[in-house]
Symmetry: C2
């Protein structure tokens, strides 16, 4: 990169990272959307992704604890409220369990996170560490994958409904609620990043933060792809279709 | 302590700690309530206490980031919402600036926290570290000073209104809102602690957590007492009545 970007050039560079690094391009995601996975493979995806979902409020509270401006905290806490909801059986994390329930997974097994792949766990933990340890600007920039999630969710929902007879619109309720939340949140984060990345170094850090976050999402699908697409690769202790572990 | 306490015995032991260790007994607090401080000394108290207030949502978000149960997170996030409010000029932290404004302190100087005593800063930072590093049970137990705050607030408000002509009920608005919040929050935390401290070791840790937190409050008044009651003790850089630093 040569020299300081204008805010709009920075936005274009961020969107270009999304076009090249976001996990909508991952072979496992392409297979999921195209109906090429078995029910067990879709279960493995939903089970592992639950772990990621379960850590998102923890990630956001980790950032909240670093924000000294009450106005910025008010903005950021909405993410936690969206995810945890206002009561039992409310919020994004609950709605993800509607999906795992609907796919026939045992709720307690899912919530125990016992069957999660080590690769999922390490990627998600790395995200929380990043948000706790890097600059607040980088931590906020790492949320910008949400700029691309609506597009991915649309294709995922259409593909899953069309291609799997065990998927209904009822069990995909999580994806109904997310796009407007993701749009609002990512617009705020994008504006913050454009306002606050005012040096070449800060802009490079922001771009790298988004690449890092794309790699967190990508690595989770790599772990699924390796463990569940080629037979014989499931790590000890992980959700195992052969043993029917976790199926309700 | 000999043996395991019943939940009610544990509550009595916690309340006994409050009776002996809570900062309503501190000489500086007694002087504040009795009208024995100058306006400058009251300013110093409000200025330093603002720093403590400003870190409370950060403390609570630090704990929120450690809670894996969405139901418990929903409970705990209310504290952050109470403190940060729902908009500008709302919430407990804002209401504390009504007090510092009313006492004639410059808002930007207060919010910069530049004039805060090192002893205040270290005590507050120790509280955040405790909540981030000790067990969740100890972190929750450390909030239990709120069991005693309504009683202290009542005496403080009555004393300050009666004894200082520069104090009005309007600038004490913070204290109007706190008691019901503190009661609700401390009842939840007390029930949690009584339910979850099920071993001698856990009960001892809970009692020590409350003593620790009492010492965090006490040390802040020690720092004020030392710096502002006896002339000549104000540390370099701290709010200095002689220099009128921070006065609007």
């Amino acid at each position: 990169m040569n020299g300081l970007l204008s805010p709009d050039e920075l936005e274009r560079a961020l969107r270009q990272i999304g076009a090249e690094h976001y996990h909508h391009l991952h072979p496992f995601q392409v297979m999921l959307n195209a109906g090429e996975l078995t029910r067990f493979q879709v279960q493995a995806w939903a089970l592992n992704r639950f772990f990621y979902q379960s850590r998102i409020p923890i990630k956001d509270a980790t950032l909240l604890a670093r924000l000294e401006d009450p106005c910025l905290r008010r903005e950021w806490r909405r993410r936690i409220i969206d995810h945890d909801g206002d009561f039992d059986a409310d919020g994004g994390l609950y709605r993800w369990t509607v999906l795992t329930d609907g796919l026939g997974l045992d709720r307690a097994y899912v919530e125990s996170t016992k069957g999660v792949l080590p690769g999922t766990r390490f990627a998600v933990d790395a995200y929380i560490s990043f948000v706790g340890e890097r600059s607040v600007l980088e931590a906020i920039a790492s949320s910008l994958t949400e700029l691309f999630s609506s597009m991915a969710i649309g294709a995922r929902v259409r593909g899953m409904l069309k291609n799997y007879d065990f998927v209904t619109s009822e069990i995909l309720t999580y994806f109904d609620k997310r796009p407007p939340q993701a749009q609002r949140d990512s617009e705020f984060a994008l504006a913050y990043v454009k306002d606050n990345a005012r040096s070449v170094e800060a802009q490079q850090a922001v771009l790298n933060a988004l690449k890092f976050k794309c790699s967190v999402l990508w690595a989770q699908l790599d772990a699924l792809h390796h463990a569940y697409v080629v037979p014989g690769n499931i790590p000890p202790g992980a959700f195992d279709p052969e043993n029917r572990a976790g199926s309700a």
